[in-house]
Every structure is written in C-alpha cells, then in structure tokens.
Amino acid sequence: MAVKKQGAKTAPAMAFHGESKDGKLSIVGIGNLRVVIVQDDGSWFAQGLEIDYASQGETIEDAKKHFENGLTATVHEHLRIFGSIEKLLKVAPGEVWNDLLMGNFSKSRHFQYYQVSVHKLSKGLQTSLPFEGIQYIEPKKAAAC
C-alpha cells in the first residue's frame, strides 16, 4: 500500500547566475519555482510564486510553453540591461498567493519549474536601452502644446 507522507517539505526555490571570465557568456539556473495554472475564462493563466512572472495560453501546454519562453527571454533582457537577474527575483505579492492557492477554481494545476539557460551577451549592449520608448515630436507640434 502506498503511503503518502504527511507534511513532506518541498525543496526551496533557488536561482543562480554565473559568468564566463570574459563576461560574454552568462549561465542562469532557476530551480523549484512553483507555478500555479488556473483556467481563466476559457484560457489558462500561469503564475510563478517565488518569482513574480506569469503567462497565458489557450491550453495548459500553451501557458507552460509561453511561461518557459517568456521567462527565459525576460532573464536575457535583465542580463542585457542590468547585467544581473537581481531585479527579477521578486516574490509574487501576498494577494496573488492567496488568490491562486486559496481560490475556488474549477480547474487548476501546479508544477515546479526548472531551467538552465546560457545567454550570449554583447558587452556593448548591456548598458543600452531600446529606443522604442522615445517619442519624437516635430518642433511645430511641440510649440503648440
């Protein structure tokens, strides 16, 4: 007879970031991240608990795939802009934990997420920001404002 252990603890979430000597390669590992997936009005929503990141998808598989691709890309952007993942390592707020863990969902799943990714970075880009946020205004229009 199978016996289910009562009160068995799960391993804590962890993350590491290592760099090659020349700083061009970064290796990032994330382990034991708990992700809750709930059905959201026909689609699926996945929310990380120890890292406040989320995704959506038409199916559970889509939501998982989008979570993995999106988080990997988010790690890459943090390395590119900040040179570290420190600003990404923020726990989801208490209300999110309460909502997802205590909420009454007809369908929900949870899984533990692991990833190790290698990021090739150009030193010159690490401190630069994309320019999409700049709004260019013609002088005549600016004067009229």
Binding site: D41, S43, Q56, A73, K87, P130
Partner: protein, 80 residues
Amino acid sequence: MGTGDVELDVVIKILQACNVAISRQTEKNLIIFEKDEIIEVHELGLAVSRRMIQRFSRKFNVPIHYFYNPDQILPGKTTC
C-alpha cells in the same frame, strides 16, 4: 475571446500611454515590456486574458479601468 479579454492592440496602446516602452522580437513572437526597472517579455495571442490584464495593471501601475475604457486615456486627457 473571453468576456474579460482585451485585444492586444488596445492593451499595448494603454500601456504605452502609461509610459511602458514596448518592443517586439518578431522572430520569436515575443513582446518586451519595460517601465522603470521592470522588464518582462511575454508571448501573447491576439487577446489578453482578464488575469493578465490584472497583472499588467498591478505590475506597471496602470488603473485597470483604462483597459476596459480606453477612451479615458486619450492623450492630454488623463495621466497614469
């Protein structure tokens, strides 16, 4: 689309109006959202779900009703 879903184009316009810089990685169908020190990359469909809207509202400090009443945030009318 679910009842709480909002079209992606509308979500992008609202976030941009609230100073979120948005760029696309077209080869991977990923969208980069950036405001202050918050940077996130998401793979989204044509519609954004209710919970994702709630999340964008919380994360980027954008009042949630703007997403459902985009006319309230016309340039020069309201600030975030």
